[in-house]
Every structure is written in structure tokens, then in C-alpha cells.
């Protein structure tokens, strides 16, 4: 009985939007699935700010109250999204790279529900769109600061998983640091997690014990900054969110992901019937990547230099990956003045020349 009711409801819900898509919708239910807790102070926190901005923007026309936190990547996420689709969500924002297979599987079953996958690249079905931010542009700014501020010439990078997004960040930060400080080296530690405060703190500690005095992180919690705070002279950067509570030091600047404009735009398009499948990849210029306040713990000339890099990237006069560049194995990658296209960036799976260590498979 229950199941039949459920299926009937689902069928009714699926039939309804199909008829009304072309001319827009009166009310949209937008649902969100998060990989960590909203209180992580980083990645998920920023997505949730975007959700709140969405609700504030459209008021009664959008129901953005449905979200689920700490959903593991894999089978669980598929269950959660199926449940969301069955419960009447018109658009589902899946906010972690590892939801990729699940998003595409569920999208096949619910052709009338729109799926938006953050940082992914697979759009197997017409109702799957992907969106991403050019975090590597922010990395070029923090990398510049890291190169200028390190006294031991050792920069540390806490990677989450060896996926292109991380590798872009590592390469961009290293190249920017190298440009202002030819002696700078980079040590990479893979934490194999997006969110595990104790492990992230351990990774930061391991780097500090190796003499690293500037830490860049690609994981979601503020634990590396808390660990850096224990050792005087070690600085780091806010990741995904401003992490302002660690100002003025160790957090000397930050890369902020601002998802609100994208969420508002996409749901707005759904409301007025102009929604189309897309693959968005905006950066500093588009406002999706912001550089948080550079604190007074940073020398004035370093601050000026960082702002120059930021403004040049925003203006389009500087690309973090500009040739001549070689790959780690010494083979040529980019010729003089050349920049990579988006497809090449999105699939980046090699270190640039000068970084030691291997990328795990």
C-alpha cells in the first residue's frame, strides 16, 4: 500500500514538471546534498551559504529547505538523491566530486529532475549539468604569497584526493611561488579525505616537522590552521571559506568559494523556463572565487604583489599556466606564451617540472 502510494506520488510529481518546464515554474523545490557537516567552516559551509542566499533571493517561490549533510560518496549518496527525487525535488545540487557516478545513475531514472554536480565533468544525460570554480586561480594568488613569505623555502600542500582539481591547485601554487622565489620547494601530503580534522591536523604537523612554514590545504576543515597556530612563524590560508577566526595569523588570506550567484542563476532559469544543460567554470573574474582579506601579518609588499596577481587574473592578462612550461618528467607541455584549454586543465594528471614526488594513481 505504502509503496504504491509512493510510486503514484512520484509518478504524479514527475508528470507535473514535464508539462510546465517550457513556460517556467511557479515554485521550485531545490535540494542539496553535502559531503561534510554544515559546521565544517569550509567547503560545505560555503555551499550552505549559497543555499541560504537562494532561499533569501526568491522567498516563497523557492523551497530550499531540503538538504542532507555528511553523505558519504558512493552508494549512500545514490540512495539519498533517489529519495530526494522521489520527494519532489525539482533540482538537486550534488556538492562533491565523488558523487559523480551516483548523480548520473539517479539522473537516468528521473529525467524530469535537474541535477547539478559540483566539480564534476560527466554529463551522461540531458538533465545533468556540472559547475565548478577555477580554484587554481586563487591558488596562484596564495602561492605567490607563500613563495614570498616562506623563510625555510619549504611550502607544504595538504591534498585531499589525487584528482585534477587538487593537481591544478598544487601546480598553480608551485608555479606562482617559484616565480617569486626560485628556491621554493613544495611537499605534498595526501590525506585521502575531504574532512577528518584529526588527520588533517596530523598532516599539517608532519609538514611542520619537515621544516615547512607555509601550509596550503585542499581539505575542508580548519584543523590545519589550528595546528599551524601552535607553532609560531607558520602561516596558512583559509580554504573554501574565509576561516576568519584564525586571523590575523596563521590565516593570512583565504580562497573563498562563492556559490550563491550560480545557485540563484540556475534556479532562476528554472523558474522562468530558460534552464538549459550546462558546464560552468567561473573563476576570480566571475566572482565564484574570491580572495579573502589579506591580514596585517603579511608584509605590505607581499600584499601588493598578491593583489597584482589577483587583479591580473581577473582582468584576463595573466593565466596561472602560461608557457614555457615543462612537465615533471622534463617533457614539453606549453610553448612560450601558450595557455592550456579547459579540457586539458580539467584532466590534469601530472605535476609540472620542479615538484618532487609522484601522484598516486
Amino acid at each position: 500500500m505504502k509503496r504504491r502510494l509512493l510510486l503514484a506520488t512520484a509518478a504524479a510529481l514527475m508528470a507535473l514538471p514535464a508539462a510546465s518546464f517550457a513556460q517556467g515554474m511557479d515554485k521550485v523545490k531545490a535540494c542539496f546534498i553535502y559531503v561534510g557537516p554544515v559546521g565544517d567552516g569550509g567547503w560545505t559551509y560555503q555551499h550552505d551559504l549559497g543555499r541560504q542566499a537562494l532561499a533569501a533571493e526568491y522567498g516563497d517561490r523557492v523551497d530550499a529547505t531540503t538538504y542532507q549533510e555528511s553523505v558519504p560518496e558512493g552508494a549512500d549518496s545514490e540512495r539519498v538523491m533517489t529519495q530526494m527525487a522521489l520527494s519532489g525535488c525539482n533540482i538537486i545540487f550534488a556538492t562533491s566530486f565523488g558523487y559523480m557516478d551516483a548523480v548520473n545513475n539517479v539522473a537516468a531514472k528521473f529525467p524530469n529532475v535537474k541535477f547539478e554536480h559540483a566539480t564534476g565533468y560527466r554529463r551522461d544525460h540531458a538533465n545533468v549539468s556540472t559547475y565548478d570554480a577555477r580554484f587554481y586561480e586563487g591558488r596562484a594568488v596564495t602561492g605567490t604569497m607563500a613563495g614570498l613569505m616562506t623563510k625555510s623555502d619549504k611550502i607544504g600542500y595538504i591534498g585531499s584526493f589525487p584528482i585534477p582539481e587538487n593537481i591544478q591547485g598544487i601546480n598553480a601554487a608551485y608555479l606562482a611561488a617559484k616565480k617569486v622565489n626560485p628556491d621554493a620547494t613544495m611537499s605534498v601530503v595526501w590525506a585521502y579525505t575531504w574532512f577528518d580534522p584529526a588527520k588533517e591536523a596530523d598532516a599539517a604537523r608532519a609538514l611542520i616537522e619537515q621544516g615547512v612554514d607555509v601550509i596550503l590545504q585542499h581539505t575542508d576543515s580548519t584543523a590545519p590552521l589550528a595546528e599551524a597556530a601552535k607553532t609560531p612563524g607558520v602561516v596558512g590560508f583559509g580554504q573554501a571559506s574565509d576561516m576568519a577566526e584564525f586571523k590575523p595569523s596563521p590565516r593570512v588570506a583565504s580562497i573563498i568559494d562563492n556559490w550563491a550567484p550560480y545557485y540563484i542563476e540556475r534556479v532562476g532559469a528554472l523558474l522562468d523556463g530558460t534552464y538549459e544543460q550546462g558546464a560552468t567554470w567561473a573563476g576570480i573574474a566571475g566572482g565564484e572565487v574570491e580572495i579573502g582579506e589579506i591580514t596585517d601579518a603579511v608584509p605590505a609588499e607581499v600584499k601588493t604583489k598578491a593583489q597584482e596577481v589577483r587583479d591580473a587574473i581577473a582582468a584576463g592578462t595573466l593565466h596561472p599556466f602560461t608557457g614555457p612550461l615543462k612537465k615533471q618528467d622534463g617533457s614539453d607541455w606549453l610553448a612560450e606564451g601558450e595557455t592550456p584549454d579547459d579540457a586539458e586543465l580539467a584532466g590534469m594528471n601530472f605535476y609540472v617540472e620542479g615538484i618532487t614526488g609522484e601522484i598516486p594513481n
Partner: protein, 309 residues
């Protein structure tokens, strides 16, 4: 003392600190299991200890009170478990799992608004000239008092279980609650006491995560440490010294693999990342091979006791 670019002294010092939370929680759980109760809610009790300890320490400005608060919160959670399993005779496995889920949710609720605050620092114990001894000084004599407390507790629990009458009774209850009952021992009361102790230990371990290891509060901060503590109890075949070894082994290898990566080791990261688990399994196999009775598990572990006559 450098091996492969890693300073062995700092590594050992880090390892001892890194393994305190799982050591505390595993010691507590070992006592609980020795009394014949299986409490799978360690993770829930730890995280409640983490959030309560953090809130208390920040509010009072005193880390010692924070640890006591963490212990109290863990014991309160354990009290709930004792009520369910000892009074209402609910299934222990289900109650323990529920306790973990409850603890994760409640801690997240309690922690609202406590993100991004720095707790008061837990200072090192001033051991004076001892800390200046080369090699041994940094490894053994330059830690905070919780490290020493956890080591003292290993000895105390070993001595309690082995050499005291109360310890003997606790073990008797775990081996055969019917026999202990027939001898006139209060099985439920003894088990409740053990459960509360286990909760307090888990709570203190949790508080160590939020006050010393990570020094901050974020949702889900213990991220699975409670489950590792549970595994270490089995790994240790319910013996305090082996709990210590297990905690150091697991904590040590977790820290070592990150250090090896930071030092630019040539060993592929995949092997490093899985090494804590692989080595834990290997040791488990070695320990358990060729021994008699199921590796020292208390005979009545996980069985519900109901005094029917």
C-alpha cells in the same frame, strides 16, 4: 636519529600524543567488555565528550575542567546505555549503535555556535631538567598531563584487573554472570559501574581531540576514532598492555605514513595510506594464531543478564 628524512625523536613524541584519544577510549571499553557488556557506542560517547569538554573549557577557561566535563558527558551517555541494556534489557548491539548515532546528532546540535573558537591551551607538564635529556627528553618528558594520565591508567587498570578483589569480581561477572549472581554479586550494578567508567574514559578521549589534538570544535571531529578504539580492544585480546601497544601501533603508523609523504619518501602513497590497516590485521593474525580459547574474550560478552531466580 634521522631515518628516511624523518626525525625519529619527533616522530615518537608525536605518536604518543596522537594515540591518546584512542588509548583512553579503548582502555575504557576494555573494562566494559571485561564485565561482559559490549558497548558499540564509543564513537558517540567520544564525540559528546569532545563537544562538552570543549564548551566547558572555553566557558571556564580551564582545560582541566574541560576534561572533567568531557568525562561527565561520556558517563552520562553511558548511563543512557546502562539504562537501556541493564534495566530495560535491550539488545546491546542495537543500543550501542543507537548511542553512536544519537551522540553524533546531539553533539552537532550542542556545537552550534562553537565553531571557530580557540580553547584554552593545555600546557606541558614542567618536568624541568628531565625534558632536557637528549632523545628521551622530547619523547617521554615533554607532554601534557593527559598523556601521563593515560599511561598511569594503563598500569592502574592492569593492576586492578589482575591483582585486586574488585577486579576479580568484575572479570567473574564477565566470564559467567550466572555464577557470579549465584555467589551473590550484583551483576547489573557491577556492569553499570563498568559502563559508566568506560563512558567517562571515552568522553575524556574525545575531549583530548577537541582540546589538544585539533584544538577546535567542528562537527564530526572524532571521525571514526571510536570505531578504531573498539577494534583495538579485540586486537589487544582484552589486555591493557596490548591496548597500549595497539594504540601506539595504529596511531604511530598513521602518523608515520603522513611523515613519510611529507619527507618525500619513494614508497607509493597508496601503500602508505593502507599500511595502518594492513599492519593491524597482520598483528591480529599473528597474535591470534596458535592460542587456545578465542583470544581471551570474556565468555559472557554481549549476553543479556536477567536474574530470573
Amino acid at each position: 636519529m634521522d631515518i628516511g628524512g624523518i626525525n625519529l625523536v619527533t616522530l615518537l613524541a608525536t605518536l604518543i600524543v596522537a594515540s591518546v584519544p584512542i588509548l583512553m577510549a579503548a582502555l575504557g571499553e576494555m573494562v566494559v567488555e571485561k564485565s561482559g557488556t559490549l558497548n558499540l557506542g564509543v564513537e558517540g560517547m567520544m564525540i559528546m565528550g569532545a563537544v562538552t569538554g570543549f564548551v566547558v573549557a572555553v566557558t571556564t577557561g580551564n582545560p582541566v575542567l574541560g576534561f572533567l566535563g568531557g568525562a561527565a558527558a561520556g558517563a552520562a551517555m553511558a548511563g543512557l546505555f546502562a539504562l537501556l541494556t541493564q534495566v530495560l534489557l535491550a539488545n546491546q548491539v542495537a543500543s550501542g549503535l543507537a548511542l553512536t548515532l544519537f551522540g553524533l546528532g546531539l553533539s552537532s546540535l550542542m556545537g552550534q555556535g562553537w565553531n571557530g573558537i580557540r580553547p584554552p591551551l593545555t600546557g606541558d607538564v614542567p618536568l624541568g631538567p628531565l625534558a632536557d635529556i637528549p632523545v628521551l627528553g622530547p619523547i617521554l618528558f615533554s607532554h601534557d598531563w593527559m598523556v601521563y594520565l593515560s599511561l598511569i591508567l594503563v598500569v592502574a587498570i592492569w593492576w586492578f584487573l589482575r591483582a585486586t578483589r574488585a577486579g576479580l569480581i568484575l572479570r567473574a561477572v564477565g566470564e559467567s554472570h550466572e555464577a557470579a549472581h549465584a555467589l551473590g554479586y550484583k551483576v547489573r550494578r557491577i556492569r553499570t559501574g563498568a559502563i559508566l567508567f568506560g563512558g567517562a574514559m571515552a568522553g575524556m578521549g574525545g575531549a583530548y581531540v577537541s582540546l589538544v589534538r585539533v584544538p577546535q570544535w567542528t562537527d564530526g571531529i572524532t571521525s571514526g576514532a571510536g570505531w578504531i578504539a573498539l577494534a583495538i580492544v579485540v586486537f589487544a585480546s582484552w589486555k591493557p598492555w596490548r591496548v597500549l601497544m595497539g594504540a601506539w601501533l595504529f596511531g604511530g603508523i598513521s602518523v608515520l605514513q603522513l611523515n613519510l609523504q611529507a619527507a618525500g619518501s619513494r614508497i607509493p602513497v597508496e601503500y602508505l595510506t593502507m599500511s595502518p590497516y594492513i599492519i593491524t590485521i597482520l598483528v591480529l593474525v599473528l597474535i591470534s594464531s596458535g592460542r587456545g580459547r578465542a583470544m581471551g574474550a570474556p565468555a559472557d560478552l554481549g549476553k543479556t543478564f536477567h536474574a530470573s531466580h
